[in-house]
């Protein structure tokens, strides 16, 4: 038996040329085949790729969707992000628990079902949602969950759960998803008429340096959130020494509340790939990688087909020539496996290399030494779409949209307490209040701008513009009505960061756990006024000392609610009238001893 399994694992490794850098693909394939990665499988992968087994173990243990324990034939991952919670996730969770007779994190005795939670799967506009193996199920209810299990028990085929297909390409036979695009507002840049190939042809009629100059003139900045000037990034990568340069498209859309890249990949993958080819031409790269988050695996077959089509059309792969220039460029898709940190560009590169998704030390920057130590340019999905339109319509056209420091439009993913959740393409500089009006968020009391790593703002800031210099966001806008508790939301985001921290550096790994401990005390009414300073100081230190963007933004949920919703905190903290620490609860402290001795305290009871 082991012999047979080993043979199959060996052939998977051979398929990836026994290449250590394709370890994530190898592990994913092994899990797909056997349901999990056993100790025997780890030994065999290590042997076939000639690497220490602990390296294989190290990679597996990093990613949320990889398992060393046997799992059910069907794994249900219920999205437990804050928006799904507000939409009734708890009722769905209770229904799953009830019909399956197991808790989350467990597998049914018959080995058919595993139940797990997943952080934001990019469906906030149609939650509560879940992944059933790779199949997305949206708008779940308690009854819906019960019915789903009934059906699955009959046919054990998650694909058959999709009865109504979503709009646009979601209905394409290679996607066949019930997901909806919910494009509510089409703007001038992304969702306007598009002629595939035109931008690339135009780019090839220019020199690479001219292309970079055009992007610089447009003043395009990265759409992922950090806002680094794209042209400058390309210039650095082009100027770096190294024969094999890489373009990586960051499609690891993991920021809670963001789902616009999912829509772009569904509706305009040609535009994304064309943007990558233009970037490749500009920086002198022949190879591109799309890092697709594991949650979007349902798009994989379709994207592969689009790549195939582009190769046939001569736009990818073989030598592509215009009247002036020729170049080769091809793209592969790297699937992720459930790790928010991999949206950080150097962590993403580590992941592409088959390693743990640890961010890398900088310097060197990816432009100098990125993927396999080669000069690498990592761009967001939306940024690459902007590139195409800039080449097509000109830098001057693009830069007159939006504001001086934030030219162009921005795709916003809007969800939460609003009547029209979905994707909106709006010019930069649009006021948050206008955005809320468009989305039908008449009752907004608090808005989380920029996802978990962004900031929570109150009505006093609704007049501010959405832009890099104003309210910055990679796309996520989560709306909360007056009946929501901002501290509970901050608590959720902090838990999210603790779960998603890679654990590399001390301040992020330990500091956030300490922040959470104190925040919980305050929420439970055991906090003191001095605790607010404690949160502030600890949060500031985590920001200043952490190694990467995750750690540097992880205290934001606490710091921004402390800043913008201080009265909520102040109402909860009080000085203990007897001068004792309110956080100390004598009965709680005695609980364990009482339980063990089976006696109650005569003094404190």
């Amino acid at each position: 038996m082991t012999y047979l399994i080993n043979g199959q694992i060996e052939s998977i490794c051979v398929e990836y040329q026994r290449d250590r850098h394709r370890l994530l693909d190898i592990i994913r394939s092994v899990q797909q085949k056997f349901g999990y990665i056993s100790d025997e499988a780890i030994d065999e992968i290590a042997r076939c790729c000639s690497i220490p087994r602990v390296e294989v173990d190290s990679t597996i243990s990093f990613y949320g969707y990889l398992s060393k324990q046997p799992r059910g034939r069907i794994t249900i991952r219920l999205c437990n992000d804050i928006i799904d919670r507000l939409q009734g996730m708890e009722r769905v969770a209770a229904a799953f628990r009830e019909v399956l007779g197991i808790d989350f994190g467990r597998t049914t005795a018959d080995g058919n079902f595993s139940l797990e939670y997943a952080p934001c799967i990019g469906m906030c506009d149609q939650g509560p949602a879940a992944l059933v193996n790779d199949v997305v199920v949206t708008k779940l209810t308690g009854d819906g969950a019960r019915e789903m299990i009934r059906d699955l028990r009959e046919h054990m085929d998650p694909h058959r759960l999709v009865r109504t297909l979503g709009d646009g390409n979601n209905a394409h036979e290679l996607i066949s998803a019930m997901v909806n695009n919910n494009i509510r507002q089409r703007g001038e840049v992304i969702f306007s008429e598009f002629h595939p190939g035109e931008a690339l042809r135009k780019a090839l009629s220019m020199s690479p340096v001219e292309v970079i100059k055009e992007i610089k003139t447009s003043r395009l900045r990265g759409r992922g959130g950090a806002g680094f000037p794209t042209g400058m990034k390309w210039e650095f990568t082009r100027g770096a020494a190294g024969p094999n340069k890489y373009v990586i498209c960051n499609a690891d859309e993991g920021e809670p509340g963001t789902f616009k890249d999912r829509v772009l990949l569904t509706e305009c993958p040609e535009m994304v790939f064309e943007g990558m080819a233009i970037a490749g031409y500009a920086i002198g790269a022949e190879q591109g990688i799309v890092y697709l988050r594991g949650e979007y695996a349902y798009l994989n077959n379709y994207l592969e087909q689009v790549l195939q089509k582009l190769r046939k059309q001569g736009m990818l792969g073989a030598r592509f020539c215009s009247t002036k220039h020729c170049f080769n460029f091809d793209i592969r898709i790297q699937m992720g496996a459930g790790a928010y940190i991999c949206g950080e560009e150097t962590a993403l590169i580590s992941s592409c290399e088959g390693l743990r998704g640890d961010p890398k030390n900088r310097p060197p920057f990816p432009a100098q030494k990125g993927y396999l130590e080669n000069p690498t340019c990592v761009n967001n999905v939306e940024t690459l779409c902007c590139v195409v339109r800039i080449l097509e319509k000109g830098a001057a056209w693009f830069s007159q949209l939006g504001t001086t420091d934030s030219p162009g439009t921005k795709l916003l993913s809007i969800s939460g307490d609003c009547r029209r959740p979905g994707v909106y393409e709006l010019p930069f500089g649009v006021k948050l209040s206008e955005v809320l009006k468009l989305a039908g968020a008449d009752n907004a009391a608090a808005v989380q701008v920029g996802g978990a790593s962004g900031q929570m703002v109150g009505s006093a800031d609704f007049h501010k513009p959405i832009s890099y210099e104003g309210l910055a966001t990679g796309g996520s806008i989560m709306v909360f009505g007056p009946h929501r508790n901002v501290l509970e939301i901050a608590h959720y985001f902090l838990e999210f960061f603790i779960d998603e921290s890679c654990g590399y550096c001390t301040p992020c790994r330990v500091g956030n756990t300490l922040l959470l401990e104190r925040l919980e005390q305050i929420i439970e009414g055991r906090g003191e006024p001095a605790d607010l300073d404690y949160l502030q100081q600890l949060g500031q230190s985590i920001k200043a000392l952490s190694r990467c963007g995750l750690g540097q933004t992880s205290p934001n949920p606490v710091l921004s609610t402390l800043k913008n919703f201080k009265p909520v905190y102040e109402q909860l903290v009080k000085v203990n009238p007897q001068g004792f620490r309110s956080s100390f609860d004598i009965n709680r402290a005695l609980e364990e001893a009482s339980r063990i001795t089976e006696r109650r305290s005569v003094i404190y009871e």
Binding site: G503, T506, P507, L545, R547
Partner: protein, 240 residues
């Protein structure tokens, strides 16, 4: 091309060789920047963050940041010292550290850094994690309770011993050192003479049967502060 780089560290103009990091350049000039994961001869890791300094006002880890021309580096402002105390206290509450019974006491770099920074008790609540001990090997044992995830053993085994006995598994709070075997250190190729053994700054990776060969009271940090060897260098004297 290989001209020395001129930068200012704590108000003193110093010269660094191209490729040198700030922590190294400071050390040559007799300025000791506190560190835990950093170890001379190993590839910089940048994980503990204790060596954070400000470069032109911006906090950066001095073990991974190369010295650059014209940099204004501050290594010991009150703010930075406070940062360091916070990091040390985080490490002290994260694991299960018990200095008074620990055989590494007086040789432990975490303890020595805590003393250097005037820490008597951490301000943070102890997290009391559940961690394990691997005493399977006849000569060496691992106590995860005292591990600070500095990766010295990981790097030394890989880069100095050429063995890859250790590597991290898990992420976030669940990150820990694992061994290159299904479970036990005894099933690896680790050897008492490996450089990886003895490089641990704390009491996590220990040799058996030698714990008290040097009596308590006669150990390096019982007599002098950690970093004193760098601060006592001739350059440092001339500076003052």
């Amino acid at each position: 091309m290989n001209d020395p780089i001129k930068l200012t560290i704590d108000g003193v103009e110093v010269e660094a060789q191209p490729g040198q990091t700030i922590i190294e350049a400071a050390g040559v000039s007799g300025i000791y920047i506190p560190r835990l994961c950093h170890y001379q001869g190993l590839k910089p890791h940048g994980s503990c963050r204790l060596c954070t300094v400000t470069v032109n006002g911006k906090p950066m880890a001095s073990c991974t940041q190369p010295a650059g021309p014209g940099m204004i580096v501050e290594t010991h402002t009150p703010h930075l010292q406070e940062f360091r105390r916070q990091i040390l206290e985080m490490l002290l509450v994260e694991g299960n550290h018990f200095c008074m019974f620990c055989e590494k006491s007086g040789l432990c770099e975490l303890q020595a850094q805590a003393y250097r920074h005037g820490i008597t008790a951490p301000r943070y609540p102890y997290l009391f994690p559940q961690r394990s001990v691997d005493a399977s090997h006849p000569d060496i044992w691992i106590d995860h309770n005292r591990c600070i995830l500095c990766a010295r053993c990981v790097r030394a085994s890989r880069d100095l011993d050429g063995k890859n006995v250790f590597q991290f598994v898990g992420r976030g709070r669940h990150k820990q050192v694992a061994v290159n075997a299904r479970a036990r250190l005894a099933d690896t190729t680790v050897n008492l003479t490996d450089r990886a053994i003895g490089i641990c700054p704390v009491g996590a990776l220990l040799k058996k049967r030698v714990g008290y060969q040097i009596p308590i009271g006669q150990r390096s940090y019982d007599h002098q502060s950690i970093g004193a060897e760098i601060e006592k260098s001739p350059c440092s004297a001339s500076k003052k």
